[in-house]
């Protein structure tokens, strides 16, 4: 694996640790306002300064990591499971089932630009963590389904699958014990890139005021709140911006590195 992948793993691990130990790492309460301390510059008391309501930016970023990862992990797991199931069915059974799923259903979900569909769903359903996750899962599953279908189509022709069938293994056994473990590699790449995508989408929707409502310390919401004052106090926007960029970059590095590592054709280049 290349150096960037390791950098990605280190940054992602830090973000995960920060999220887990947030209560220990935060120096202030995330909701406590102190209007006398509005827009304070970074100092020993407030490491990243304070925002427009005098809240500690560092502590808010630390707790914001929890929201980002919670959304990211839930979306990856739920949309991954749904995508793998639908993709397996399409690839394994083929015929009209595959024609309907990959020829029609996948195309319908790909027909909406992802962010637009999420915006539309949240606009009609209303904002909130659960609805945001639901919207991101609805746009996310199709990526896994396509990868899984492609893998199943490839792997099901291999000799060991034919051998398993000859030995009398049932469809479910062949699918889950033989095909799935051999198709898992590209899915891990997809999951890593999907994690970056989910973190970015959550921040984008929160930035648009359609994600997690304030006062929850979502990084996207923090940027939206900071935007109005950033020409005078750029640090209010800078720190959450760096947090989002680093997290997304880390998962992209991992996904990219893994893809290269798992694909010998790309490795030699």
């Amino acid at each position: 694996m290349n150096r960037l992948t390791y950098i990605g793993i280190v940054i992602a691990s830090i973000v995960v640790l920060v999220a887990i130990f947030a209560p220990l790492l935060a120096t202030h309460d995330v909701g406590t306002q102190n209007l006398e301390m509005r827009f304070a510059m970074p100092s020993a008391e407030h490491w990243f300064g304070t925002d427009g309501l005098g809240r500690d930016i560092y502590s808010r970023i630390v707790f914001g990591a929890r929201i980002s990862l919670q959304v990211g992990i839930t979306v990856v797991v739920v949309s991954g499971v749904i995508g793998i199931l639908i993709g397996s069915i399409a690839g394994f059974y083929g015929g009209w089932i595959d024609k309907f799923l990959s020829g029609y259903l996948f195309n319908v979900f790909l027909a909406f630009p992802g962010l637009l569909l999420a915006i539309a769903l949240v606009a009609f359903l209303g904002a909130g963590l659960g609805k945001l996750i639901l919207a991101l899962c609805i746009i996310g599953w199709v990526g896994y389904a396509r990868v899984m279908r492609g893998q199943v189509l490839k792997v099901r022709e291999y000799d060991f699958v034919q051998a398993a069938r000859a030995l009398g293994a049932g469809n479910m056994r062949i699918l889950f014990s033989h095909i799935l473990p051999n198709a898992i590699q590209p899915l891990i790449v997809q999951a890593s890139l999907g994690m970056a995508g989910a973190v970015l989408s959550e921040a984008s929707l929160s930035f648009l005021g359609l994600g997690i409502p304030p006062p929850a310390p979502s990084w996207g919401t923090m940027i939206e709140e900071a935007r109005q004052y950033f020409s005078i106090t750029p640090h209010v926007l800078f720190f959450p911006g760096v947090a989002i960029a680093l997290t997304v970059l880390a998962f992209n590095f991992i996904g990219d590195g893994l893809r290269e590592y798992l694909d010998p054709k790309q490795r030699t280049r």
Partner: protein
């Protein structure tokens, strides 16, 4: 020829099927609104008469679909008297309904703003191409060299940096500090530069990576060796032969990314107060709970995306005979 025609018909049929589903989904979305649109728009103090009037005016007093279900009466067949069919009939006549807030035709509101968004998306595409082709070619021709590594890193950075971080940063540097552009709005022609760079940054990153791997792949082809053996300069080999073939996959990505740009424009338009379709959707549609307007905006962006995708696919097939024949 016969195969080509069949394929074209198949492609068109799929496009129509997808458009039908997208329209149906968008029609269904309004049924998801908690409570009713009338209540959310008129407020809790609205009288029953006001709510009835609102519903009648916007056709919301009619059944949603061909059939409805309630616990008391079970399934009821409503026939052609339903909103789903109304929306379709209107759509085929170019009528997207009337805005819940302004009582103006939704199509008029959209047509006022759409050119602005298209202009922004095209400008962003130009920015992306302008950055990606030279950078991608440099990276591809210096495989694994310093330039390649830097270009790859910059590309990944471009993909990972969110629009809403890049945009305010550009505004801070070029509008606030240097004073070269105005921070928001679109009064002067040069005001499009910052929004276009913001929107095009991620696309330029994706394209750079595509151009790079395309150039690397094409450089290994036989025709490149022939061109070199003919004594062509490396510059000519790269720009006249390699790039021409290497740009085919790039065209596909450009087409597919148009929809992403249109959706991404929503964020860029918000940052720069750019009066396009995205801001119309956000400020007038979503924030004012004008669901009819939201439906219209989502529909128009999606249909543009579907048509762009289908056209891209056709252009791709036309450009690369290998795909046409397979």
């Amino acid at each position: 020829m016969k195969y080509k025609l069949l394929n074209l018909i198949r492609q068109a049929a799929l496009m129509l099927l997808v458009i039908w589903t997208v329209v149906s989904l968008v029609t269904v979305l309004i049924e998801l609104v908690p409570g009713s649109p009338a209540m959310t728009i008129l407020g809790e103090t609205a009288t029953a008469e006001q709510i009835d009037n609102f519903n009648r005016k916007h056709g919301l007093d009619r059944p949603a679909f061909f059939f409805s279900y309630s616990a008391e009466s079970g399934f009821v067949w409503n026939g052609a008297d339903n909103r789903y069919l109304d929306y379709w009939t209107g759509l085929l006549k170019g009528d997207l309904g009337t805005s819940f807030r302004t009582d103006r035709p939704v199509l008029d509101l959209i047509l006022e703003r759409y050119p602005s968004t298209i202009k922004l998306a095209l400008a962003a595409m130009l920015v992306a191409i302008g950055i990606a082709i030279p950078l991608g070619v440099l990276a591809g021709t210096n495989k694994n060299g310093i330039v390649d590594n830097i270009a790859s890193f910059v590309a990944l950075l471009g993909i990972s940096l969110p629009t809403f971080v890049v945009g305010p940063f550009l505004v801070y540097v070029f509008a606030v500090r240097l004073g070269w552009f105005s921070p928001t709005g679109s009064l002067y022609p040069e005001d499009i530069i910052l929004p276009a760079v913001t929107l095009g940054a991620a696309l330029s990153a994706i394209l750079t990576r595509m151009v790079r791997s395309s150039v690397i792949e094409e450089l290994g082809e036989d025709y490149v060796r022939t061109a070199r053996a003919k004594g062509l300069s490396e510059r000519k080999v790269v720009y006249k032969h390699v790039l021409k073939n290497g740009l085919i996959p790039v065209v596909t990505v450009l087409g597919l990314q148009l929809g992403v740009l249109l959706a991404g424009a929503i964020i860029t338009e918000k940052i720069f107060s750019w009066q396009g379709l995205g801001l119309l959707l956000l400020d007038d549609g979503i924030r004012k709970l004008d669901y009819r307007l939201v439906q219209g905006c989502v529909l128009v962006i999606s249909i543009t995306f579907i048509i762009a995708n289908t056209l891209t696919d056709l252009v791709y097939r036309w450009l690369d005979p290998r795909i046409r024949l397979s």
